[in-house]
Symmetry: C2
Subunit: 276 residues, 2 copies
């Protein structure tokens, strides 16, 4: 068996020995025999921005602060100008409260809109699409050797996916080096946790690569663009709109990446084929 | 090759010849060759309840009316007491408006809550969990012969999944017979479309089986319980909370169903092993 890629090689990666992340489930199999399995946990986490309840996300529960910060930035409820004064997680209530120095635009906007149209979900999504016009990713070269090395390292990393399954993973990478590996029941949560970590650690996005196990839908492309990352790679499939958005945003988009096979959907002229 | 299970055997099933559901995408593969692929479409659909904008969902775009009705019922924004006066889809604006005879409780509740806490998303989710106490599914027997037959028929059905991939499927079944097959980019949309169809066609839920390709998370179990369906089967994995909720709700839950293998997580005493 191939040697595992060590978790020590990451700045942050899944803590597969954290027993709060999975539990034991008993079942009966097709042979009518009792089976016992380790299965991923899932719990609600309610995110507040100052005094405003924003959303209840279903999450595996690690890194609630990163999830909250990343979610709020990726939904454009926070911007780079907002100074975070505190991020508090209450494990009894499953609540994270993100506080900012000044009141955020989001609250004003939300209050105004709720008076006319009620619920903010659609509105918020509308805002995200509007904001995309202001994003311009500068093209960044991508070597096939990096892709193969990343895929190989990530697949050999001890993860909750390998341990218990039914989970999505997202990895922030620099060239051929995976840096930050997050997992969650929803692929969007894993991306939001990466985003929260980047903001907290002040990591520049424009020379990075985002790798995900999930499909390349419009939501994934939009989140990645909001984070300022110019390259998005997935081992899964993609949608027409995901591809169209990536082209519009000047993002390099790679789908169906498995072993030494892949399909480049956008930014193909920036690929360097340096492997045989 | 095994004979396809005919779509004519379903009351409603994916229309794989509907060219609005997929598009052509050009890419470059690992051999630096141009490749052309058919890929699933994805577009925004904004759902209104009377004058209230509720959500913008990303969907493949078929059956927008069923999606809207099912979403509103599954989010408990509509109840059995609400009489629908019209459901109008505007293909130019990608908007569905669902109208009811009287103002729905949801609007009052939302207006009250938005004044104090702003956004309804978390609140709405909270309401769903509360409502679960009132649901009691009456146990319903499940034969292994039905499961094997269903799995076999569903896998052989002409679907968007077989045609272009990157999509989830959900099938409403009666005993060994698949009745209604819906697909979408999000597994929750596929379930909501089934729900909208059942409400529109006045289909009783308590003798049915819901089959899904997606994972059995809390959200899937809650939706299925809200729909009144006592049996949920998936070919994918599950979370601890999904299993706990199924037990609490007296639901029969089957995961990792592949060929003649499966794992029963809840309601095992209602299984009838009538196959060898």
């Amino acid at each position: 068996m191939a040697k595992k890629f060590s978790v020590a090689d990451y700045l942050i990666s899944p803590n597969i020995s954290d027993k709060a992340l999975f539990g034991n489930v008993l079942g009966i199999d097709h042979n009518r025999e009792e089976v016992s399995m380790e299965v991923i946990e899932e719990k609600p986490l309610t995110i507040y921005l100052n005094s405003q309840e924003v959303v209840t996300a279903m999450t595996i529960g690690d890194h609630p602060e990163y999830l909250a910060i990343g979610f709020l930035y990726n939904q454009r409820m926070l911007s780079q100008e907002d100074e975070l004064t505190s991020v508090e997680f209450d494990p009894e209530l499953d609540v994270v409260v993100v506080r900012t120095l000044r009141h955020t635009d989001f609250e004003k906007k939300l209050k105004k809109r709720t008076r006319t149209s009620g619920c903010a979900v659609g509105t918020v999504f509308g805002d995200i699409l509007e904001g995309l016009d202001q994003i311009s990713l500068k093209g960044s070269k991508l070597r096939t050797s990096w892709m193969y090395e990343l895929s190989n390292k990530i697949n050999r990393t001890d993860s909750l996916y390998l341990k218990v399954g039914a989970i999505h993973g997202t990895v922030l990478c620099y060239k051929s080096k995976p840096m930050c590996y997050m997992e969650d029941v929803g692929r969007h949560n894993a991306v939001d946790k990466i985003s929260g970590w980047m903001i907290s650690e002040n990591i520049r996005p424009d020379d990075k690569i985002l790798y995900t196990t999930g499909r390349l839908t419009s939501e994934m492309v939009i989140k990645t663009a909001n984070m300022g990352i110019p390259i998005l790679i997935s081992r899964s499939g993609f949608t027409v709109w995901g591809v169209e958005l990536a082209k519009k945003l000047n993002m390099t988009l790679i789908g169906r990446m498995k072993g030494k096979r892949f399909c480049c959907l956008s930014g193909g002229h920036r690929l360097i084929f340096d492997t045989v």
